[in-house]
């Protein structure tokens, strides 16, 4: 389900490699996109008659570079002051063209990903920007995936690209480790954003978002093979994708992890996820994505042992809370405490959380309901379930909660 066809992959690979080369050398993503789409258009017109050139990528780069040259020449006439700067850009493009076929030629896509997830770019546009520039997805499709009107998304993307150009967001990989780690976290977060939206989405949109995020994380592994957190996110994507089929029952209701039929899990994907996690572990640098993947992996132990090691899960959640506490992970920790210790202890933990907006957080109310029920408080449990149901906009989750509520 995660694999694209070969042709699609090659075309995409070329597209993203070339966009990255052009954008890194001009600092202008929109201009790079225009030039490259012109080049692809020319290829469609010319290749059927003249045959495919020996090096299609070099051919495309030459045409795109010529387009950029034309553009800069006309721009330079009106703004003389920038001529020198432009000459410099064109020279670097010429060099890129000459060296493209050499195996040592650097892949610039990592720089492009860092730019897309730059802290100066708004949270809500980083993931779409990456899907558009690195994967070449059309705006209309991205808009459908995130349920945003196309003109709204187009405007956000244009604004982001203008900002990258005018504020001169650098196309570079941070060289000090601390900055690299922070910025890499933003890149991973943007990819995770595509995957998380996919998990919640309807069937067709789900498939697209899951496979696109898998493509992006594989690309990132290829570009940064030594980063354990990249492998950690890849493991999360594989382990969660493995259970997608088992997430819904025949009525379309959500099936929580603990009640899923393990026969419906994709064992191949689980094995792949675990291999990625093992690879990450060799670096001996734990992080939040690896911890989340480890949590998933412990749940997947049900494939072999038919039981879950709750105390191990609890220590993983405690570690996660100590480095990256989120409302979602803290609420999930309460549910794990309930299994590992007792429902009362889980409730105590939940009630000690001091987070703004907690009462309006659907998973909090749903978990509270479940723990109250297990503690023998059916009246309070019903109240919590009713509150949770009223906050649920997702149909599958609501069907599950209503069933729990009705069983009272």
């Amino acid at each position: 389900m995660i694999v694209h066809s070969d042709i699609d992959r090659v075309a995409r690979d070329s597209y993203s490699r070339l966009i990255a080369i052009l954008a890194a050398r001009t600092g202008d993503i929109a201009l790079a996109e225009d030039a490259l789409s012109d080049a692809f258009q020319r290829a469609i017109e010319m290749w059927p008659d003249q045959g495919v050139p020996n090096s299609p990528e070099a051919w495309l780069l030459t045409v795109a570079r010529n387009r950029l040259k034309d553009h800069y020449k006309s721009a330079a006439v009106s703004r003389r002051t920038e001529v020198e700067n432009i000459e410099e850009k064109l020279v670097t493009l010429d060099i890129a063209e000459a060296q493209l076929s050499q195996p040592s030629f650097p892949d610039e896509r990592l720089k492009l990903m860092f730019v897309c997830a730059h802290p100066a770019i708004g949270d809500n546009v980083r993931t779409p920007l990456m899907l558009q520039t690195v994967l070449g997805l059309p705006v209309e499709q991205i808009a459908r995936l995130f349920l945003v009107p196309s003109p709204t998304l187009a405007k956000r993307l244009t604004r982001a690209k203008q900002k990258i150009k005018s504020s001169v967001v650098p196309f570079e990989i941070p060289d000090d480790e601390v900055t690299l780690a922070t910025r890499l976290d933003d890149v991973l977060e943007a990819i995770y954003g595509a995957f998380a939206a996919g998990i919640e989405a309807e069937e067709e949109q789900q498939l697209t978002l899951v496979s696109e995020s898998a493509y992006l994380i594989r690309l990132l592994i290829a570009l940064l093979p030594q980063e354990p957190e990249v492998l950690g996110l890849a493991a999360i994507i594989h382990l969660s994708a493995a259970r997608l089929e088992a997430r819904y029952d025949e009525a379309g209701a959500l099936v929580p992890l603990g009640q899923q039929n393990v026969d419906m899990w994709d064992k191949h994907l689980v094995a792949e996820g675990r291999a990625l996690l093992e690879q990450a572990g060799r670096h001996q640098r734990i992080g939040r994505f690896q911890l989340e993947a480890l949590i998933q992996s412990v749940h997947c132990d049900r494939l072999d042992t038919d039981s879950v090691n709750w105390s191990l899960l609890l220590s993983l959640y405690e570690a996660l809370s100590s480095i990256r506490p989120t409302t979602g992970s803290l609420v999930a920790q309460a549910a794990v405490i309930s299994e590992a210790v007792s429902p009362q202890k889980g409730l105590e933990f939940l009630h000690c959380l001091k987070i703004q907006g907690l009462e309006q957080f659907q998973p909090y109310q749903a978990t509270r309901g479940a723990l109250l029920l297990q503690s023998g408080e059916p009246v309070l449990a019903a109240e919590a379930f009713d509150k949770a149901i009223s906050l649920t906009t997702n149909k599958a989750a609501r069907l599950y909660l209503q069933r729990q509520r009705n069983s009272l």
Partner: protein, 116 residues
């Protein structure tokens, strides 16, 4: 409890919208309406033509006054509404957050004052 979502947006944002854009808008609003119906909270909705089509009428000053155009000439204009029937303001806010209009405009949430 009934709540009305008044959807405000800048009409200029959609001045260049194509036929395909409008169709995509209808699709995502269609999904939203379906989600409201699935949850059994949907009451009513309507989308309005641009504010330049508005006619404003009043008898407040003693005689009939008719104005060509909207009541207030503001940047954000009323573009549509939803009426939902939900438990409380928290639930109303959860649904307003999912409304496509929240992505490009703003949503005023008003509880119903109608008895019964």
């Amino acid at each position: 409890m009934r709540y009305t979502f008044l959807l405000y947006s800048n009409e200029a944002d959609f001045a260049d919208a194509t036929e395909a854009d409008m169709q995509q808008m209808q699709e995502i609003y269609g999904q939203y309406i379906q989600a409201l119906k699935d949850a059994d909270v949907f009451v009513d909705t309507d989308w309005l033509q641009p504010s330049m089509s508005a006619t404003t009428l009043s008898l407040r000053g003693g005689s009939k006054e008719v104005q060509d155009g909207p009541y207030a000439d503001t940047k954000d204009q009323l573009g549509g509404y939803f009426v939902v029937d939900v438990a409380d303001l928290d639930a109303a806010m959860a649904w307003a957050e999912k409304c496509p209009a929240a992505q490009y405009g703003l949503i005023e949430i008003r509880p119903s004052a109608m008895p019964g």
